[in-house]
Amino acid sequence: MIQPAKPELVTVFIDGKEIAVPKGTNVIEAARMVGTDVPHYCYHPKLTVAGNCRMCLIELGMPMADRATREPIMDPETGKQKINWIPRPQIGCGTTVVPGMHVKTQSQMVKDCREGVMEFLLINHPLDCPICDQAGECKLQEQATGYGRGYSRFIEQKNVKPKRTQLGPRVMLDDERCVLCSRCIRFNQEIVKEDVLGFVDRGSYSTLTCYPGKELTNNYSLNTVDICPVGALTSTDFRFKMRVWFLKQTNSIDTESSVGANTVVWSREGVIYRITPRQNDEVNDTWMADSGRVLYKQVQADDRLKTATIGGKLASIEFALTEAANLVKTGGVTVVGSGRSSVEEQFLTKKLATTLGAETTIVARTGEDDGILISADRNPNTRGALVTGLISDVPTTDLSALGAAIDAGSVTTIVSVGEDLLAAGLTADQLSKVAVIYLGAHGNPTSAMAQVVMPTLTVFEKNGTFINQQFRLQKFAAAVPGLAGSFDDLYVLDQFIVAVGGESIGVDVKSVWPTLAAEIPALATATYANLPATGLLLDSTPWASLNFPEGKSLHFEPAVETTTA
């Protein structure tokens, strides 16, 4: 396993509490380590320090020493070294710890500073908290309660700034709520590397805007909404839809590419309202792509398969399984698995193929690597297909070999796990020559031509794991119940195996895992129940020589070397 290098520690005193923190830590993070909250707006741990909100002002002191002799100057009353407190407050975000540093986060001066900043931030802020679209995630509201004066001394006319400015297709700006923290500006400059946002005008009239001729259109624009500490930037998709405190949070994984950005799925009463990134410093920091946020729409999509069919006619799942078993009996079977299936599903797919004596393949999906969180491999679980043995090499882009086998007559039945074989390179003519058994959540031209269709679940309706480009095993969980009439992929695959004479392994993740861990060496040390939220890095050495399509993205380290310290 990877052992991070031990950081050099620095001893500091936060409100008198002694703590050793890694060198280079700033005061906000150091205080967090002793459980002290230093309020802030502009500071974000993944962005450069701007130091402009002034909310994190603290008192700073250093032990006094004689200038000439460097001898400590002692306080005769306490017997301790005297502390030289800087008379001006300092910003916690821009202050890096040095040995012996003393910090006061609760002194009268600090309280006055916070009260002052809160008062300033609120003088021109509209009092629309009850209807604000930040929906319960406003630090202005929280910190006004925690650190504010509690009443306003401002009787002048407020500055009225523009409302509902569309910065881009997905992001809306309510200028009057903006605290000009510049997080959104820095995010675009530093993470997306696109200079698109900036401030115009001076003083209290400063406003955020796009540069002339530009729009906030990049695929990461919604991260600005996540990091906006107040209700200024909102998602046009989520705005006004739901208060966040009503929503249930479920940890999930973005299935767009092999990066496997960690996400949170927000749902209520079986309906998903939004997807936001979840912090995993090894994978996606705190970011995710906009395109991954709308994937929840798959759940309610019009093309969802709602019932099993045989020859296009409604059937029960039991009949469909029996019919599928009949179709594969004659041999000449090929299984087209999926790089979008979970590790557990791929394991059962492989088991099914072994039981049938069938060849296995998966459909490759590639695109341009954006250098951030969308990698060239658009399957979330290509590594899983390798680890489970579903494939032995990086999949090729099309199914021409399979097409040739159909033309030659050696393949007569295809089991497709959610893949549209026509989109993957087979012709309608080729497909009409074979029997197709289709398992999947959504209909497509292949399912329309399939003899047997068995409806399964989307990633938001089931549990499982993916292995990302780093060979990091990551867990996702069901956010909402499965659509009525559909079945867990594991149940369908397991029952299929049973129907063709194999042994049942398990119909859900928990029951599959003991066999999985026992049979797959790479997963021998992992247990599903105890998998950390940030995932588990697997030994990737067996696949180190493969030619993966990924380029360098945010935290991409292909074929990780593992060392045991």
Binding site: T95, F120, L121, V179, R202
Partner: protein, 449 residues
């Protein structure tokens, strides 16, 4: 009583009959001889000389020039830049523009000596956008100096080369703040940089070591090299060496610019003798001694000053010697040398409203206290002027200022709050009168912003 004679060093030729800003005229008066002499010396020796002279920056903060130079990271391997701060945007201050208009070569010579001393290969003169004439004069003077071999390649026939470029600012007060100036020079919006961790001397222009000096400061460098640090030290008082230019404006008979050794005249002498005293039938009421951001002094107030030996002395406003330390001891500052005088015709709420309007307009908007507080102060003082004062307004506006001062990224926080703090502290009675006597001041046009 006759006015004490000025000691004009920097302003020696300003307003002199027949003196023009041509290089020929400058050289006729001994111009560029000091540069010729300086480039034959070792750069560290020049730096030592400047440090020894005790020269303090004439831009406002009064920081030691030699010390500033000593902070420059000379080991980084990156180019070192020198930027001449000719932004001069502090209200009440108009000294640098006269140097530029009437004696630009003095600035160029001082700049080139400073560049040579600090191994600078490229210097910029950052001039306020509203000074097009100054920029034009500088461009012409630099070209003349370039043609004569004092700027550009192989200066004075040596193998040292350094060029100067004029950069016209965008026209904001904050462009004169040294880090905001650097940002502006880099082509960005002039927002100050947070410091610590990095000061311009380490990471400045284009992330390279950078010196930012005021126009007058760099002119002094020339004279220090001319007369030697030991001679220069004799001008002024200890820790306040050299001369200072005072730009006196407001209610005196002879406003204008005057140059005296630091501490050689008191505020009383400057205003009464040099500037001819108050206007006919008027008495002095208040004075801002160092540009509009400096704390105001009220005539009649007394200061108890601690001597170095522990004894104390009493000063009135008239007794304060015009040097950095004495003005600081009296609770204000020498600042940029802009002395703004107000007589008994001035309504202090009006005056503050005017100042507040200026600073509210100029706040860059980067950090919260100054961005929101400066406009709030302006709104309160404007409302008071418009006859809607409340008894608590004085206290409120001062408290708003207290919430700004010392809590912002750059010194603009102090610049905008010190006037309010000091006006209320010293003329609190007038702020109260405004609330009780609504007719104290009719609404007039104070629509600066």
């Amino acid at each position: 009583m006759s006015a004490p004679a000025e000691t004009r060093i920097i302003f020696k030729h300003i307003d002199e009959e027949g003196y023009s800003n041509d290089i020929a005229c400058y050289q006729k008066h001994g111009g560029y001889e000091i540069l010729k002499k300086s480039v034959t010396q070792a750069p560290p020796d020049i730096r030592d000389e400047v440090k020894k002279s005790g020269l303090r920056g004439r831009g406002g903060a009064g920081f030691s020039c030699g010390l500033k130079w000593s902070f420059v990271d000379r080991k980084s391997g990156k180019p070192i830049y020198l930027v001449v701060n000719a932004d001069e945007s502090e209200p009440g201050t108009f000294k640098d523009r006269y140097i530029i208009h009437q004696d630009p070569h003095q600035l160029i010579e001082g700049t080139m000596i400073s560049c040579f001393a600090n191994d600078v290969k490229q210097a910029y003169i950052y001039i306020r956008g509203e000074f097009p004439e100054g920029a034009r004069i500088l461009e012409k003077a630099i070209q003349e100096a370039r043609d004569a071999g004092f700027v550009g390649k192989n200066i004075c026939g040596t193998d040292y080369s350094c060029d100067i470029f004029v950069h016209r600012g965008a026209g904001a007060y904050i462009c004169g703040e040294e880090t905001g100036l650097i940002e502006s020079l880099e082509g960005k919006r002039a927002n100050p940089r947070i410091k610590p961790p990095y000061f311009p001397a380490v990471l400045g222009l284009y992330q390279c070591p950078t010196i930012v000096n005021n126009v007058e400061t760099l002119c002094h460098v020339k004279h220090i090299m001319d007369m030697g640090a030991d001679e220069y030290l004799k001008i002024g008082t200890p820790n306040n060496t050299g001369t200072r230019i005072f730009c006196v404006s407001g209610h005196v008979k002879k406003p204008g610019y005057y140059e005296f050794p630091c501490g050689a005249v008191t505020l009383g002498t400057l205003l009464n003798d040099v500037c001819g005293g108050p206007l006919e039938g008027r008495t002095f009421k208040a004075v801002i001694p160092g540009g509009s951001s400096a704390k105001i002094l009220r005539f009649g107030e007394k200061f108890t000053i601690k001597n170095k030996d522990g004894t104390t002395k009493e000063w009135t406003v008239e007794d304060i010697p015009m040097d950095f330390d004495s003005l600081a001891a009296a609770g204000t500052m020498g600042g940029s040398g802009g002395v703004i005088v107000m007589d008994d015709s001035v309504n202090m709420v009006d005056a503050l409203a005017n100042i507040n309007a200026f600073y509210a307009h100029e706040s860059c908007g980067q950090c919260t206290p100054c961005r929101e507080g400066s406009l709030w102060m302006k709104k309160i003082s404007t409302r008071m002027v418009h006859g809607e004062a409340r008894p608590e307004d004085g206290e409120l506006i001062k408290n708003v200022a207290d919430q700004i001062a010392g809590r912002t990224i750059c010194a603009f926080g102090e610049a905008c709050s010190w006037p309010t703090q000091s006006f209320v502290a010293k003329f609190g009675d007038e702020f109260k009168t405004y609330a009780t006597d609504k007719k104290a001041k009719p609404a007039d046009s104070l629509e600066l912003v």
